[in-house]
Amino acid sequence: MTQWVYSDTVRDHFLNPRNVLRDENPEDFDAVGRTGNVKCGDEMVVYLKVDPEALTITDCKWQTYGCASAIASTSMLSEMVRGMTLDAAARITSKDILAALGGLPDNKVHCSVLGDKALRAAIDDYYRRHGMEDRIQTLGPRVVCHCLNVTEEDIEHAVLEGARSFEELQERTKIGTGCGECQEEAQRVLTSFIEKHFGL
């Protein structure tokens, strides 16, 4: 058989996904995080069990609606976070997941690697449920484009990498290409970062 579009690791995690939430009751988990939506074609939910003393993740289950790379990337993430402290897990980026997967085709990166965002939402949920809201502020940059989960941080990076117009920002981040409702807000954030860094 000729080469697959994805790496062997992606193929393995897609065909044999690990840690899927199947029969367990979601209410038995200590935290839940959701990202993406059906309209965009990718959605995922991450469920965490947390050791309340050590604040480490003892179990991570998930459900994903999406393409092969969305399924594989959530599966991979669920393996990566077991035993991690919440703070360490919150620092996982989509690049970390990509590296563990052995890479993905370029056009797949932005739309399908959403697991880190769902995980961060779950971690925030845990903090919120346990009166540790103060920890949330240091984590989780604000999401501007909810379809593709593009954050303010992502926009700032794109500006630092050379994006100056909305079109250039879109080329780099795919922002606003789902439902398109965030375009005005994205333009505002883009302008503010260009001013901040380049004093335009």
Partner: protein, 392 residues
Amino acid sequence: MPQPIYLDHNATTPLHPEVKRVMVEMLDVFGNPSSLHAFGREARARVEAARAQVAALVNADPVEVIFTGSGSEGNNTVLSLVRCTKTACRCDLGTRKGLVTTAIEHPCVLETAKYLRRLGHPVTILGVDRSGRIDLDELRAAVTPEVGLVSIMTANNETGTIQDIPEAARIAHEAGALFHTDAVQAVGKIPVDVRAWDVDFLTLSAHKIYGPKGVGALVARRGTPLCPLILGGHQEAGRRAGTENTIGIAAMGEAARMRLVEMDTEAPRLAALRDRLRQGIEAAIPDVTFNGHPEHTLPSTLNVSFMGVEGEAILLHLDAVGIAVSTGSACASGSLDPSHVIMALGVPVEYAHGSIRISLGRETTEEHIDTMLRELPPIIANLRSISSAYRR
């Protein structure tokens, strides 16, 4: 793994064994059809024989058949009429600078239409209903005196839905416009008749009818204007420059001949297999919706959406068990929207990303359909079991 099963005939078809035989034979017919000597005459004879064979498949006159490099080239050639600058032709649509087409055309028509719009031409893109058909009254209203050309595909590649081409052509002609149909998916699957339908232009492609890639044909009826897209040669009566693709053309001729031989018995056989597939899917899998028209459809195409699962994931699971289909989902194309056809049909959002197209062909057997019906339900059940978007 058992022998792979190919259910993606609308994407392309394997070579017919007879076509392959002709191609091998043609490897030694190297003459340039324009040469006057014996080598040239031999090649010319093969090209002209093929022209007659292709003409016969769509009931055209052989002189009306122009060989091209692809279906896309044929479609681009016809649409270029609208922006004719009369550098290489005498055609003149006068003040009729407008184009009317539909939202479900192949991108080679749709993108060309948008290009014409950017050039300043009035372009109307008609929508379709949930079954994928245009509204003929809407068409009638759209063909204003400024419209020079109407282009409507015969059968859609994704859904198989067939338009009422004879009526659409009549509406265009009554309003004084020329009529083109992209029949790439219809030719060889259903009877196509340029005279009975009274169309001015019709596009065909060889690789959809068990011929090779890289060759197509455009039928331009006698007396209709035509702007060549490729200038600088007398070939194809000055309508398409470039030394003829003799191997491809002879192969296309043979492919057309075999379609006439096989189509009549094949169509009902495939329609029965398609119905068996549809009923099997309906019986085994809940929450499915079929995209396309129940009657006005190609016998060999089935487009189905599954709630709460994504098309590329279905495609790759099927591929892993040796079954080839295609999907209109966004992820497979690398864009974020489902295909423009699925969007135009207004497929509900929870189904829109979960469509697959199953297209049968001359080598499809009952066993293939049974294997598909055995493999597909557990794949859908499995993907739904991990999906956050499927309501259990």
